[in-house]
Symmetry: C2
Subunit: 145 residues, 2 copies
């Protein structure tokens, strides 16, 4: 999938992503960067809203796993089973979430599980960055069913 | 604060809550119920979107702590420090998040901390319910600073 196609898919199928003004900045097989602009996603303290930070991070993880399945002609729906987020420092500008597919070892295990059982889980660490600093970090556990 | 005033405050100060069509159904000193309608918050699987579920739960917790401070003439800004959510079952309709202030003991500790240090933390369990079942559960750690 191209970054543009993913962005269109999100805006069409998950209507709230349009309100968050989600932009897919980069999409490769093994990595993704997603942005939610500050103006639409600020809070009462004039920093980035915790719900928007979590949502942007979640979308990065969900999209990367979905794209991985599609690129490998694997079937299945991706859903988030569990999310753990730490807000380390306030974000005063755009929300930028980035993640990678993780270790080759984890992917091999994931592929094997998916082939043998038709379902599998994959955990991703998604960083939310500003000025090259990790301002929030989500551990997302994604289930393919 | 009245439920209506809280809803207006959220829509005014956290613009994305308007797009989620957040409604405050009930607000008492010790409990709150917040709703996000299905239509605005559905996902690609035609169930409630994980990001909207988390956000609605977060808003319930944040609002209850903020209202508690205001009602007791306590000063401080409420921010979310950490969130852990489990998605137990798909939600096929509106997102309804509810929580209570927790034990008297925890509140006494919270009040003492706030008085002596000017900052304190409070953890809340926020249930997201549908048909009287808990479909998702957030443990939110709120910091008053």
């Amino acid at each position: 999938m191209k970054a543009e196609d993913l962005q269109n898919l999100l805006h069409k199928e998950i209507p709230i992503t349009k309100a968050l003004a989600i932009e897919v900045l980069d999409l490769e097989l093994e990595r993704i960067i997603i942005k939610a602009p500050f103006q639409q996603n600020k809070n009462i303290h004039n920093t980035a809203f915790a719900g928007s930070i979590y949502t942007t991070a979640t979308l990065a993880g969900w999209s990367l796993v979905t794209n991985f399945l599609e690129s490998n002609n694997l079937k299945g729906s991706v859903v988030l089973a569990k999310g753990e987020i730490k807000y380390l420092k306030p974000i005063t500008g755009d929300i930028i979430a980035r993640t990678t597919l993780g270790s080759e070892q984890a992917l091999v295990k994931f592929n094997k599980q998916l082939e043998s059982k038709g379902r599998a889980r994959l955990s991703l660490i998604i960083d939310v960055i500003e000025d090259e600093q990790i301002k929030a970090q989500l551990k997302g556990n994604f289930a393919v069913i």
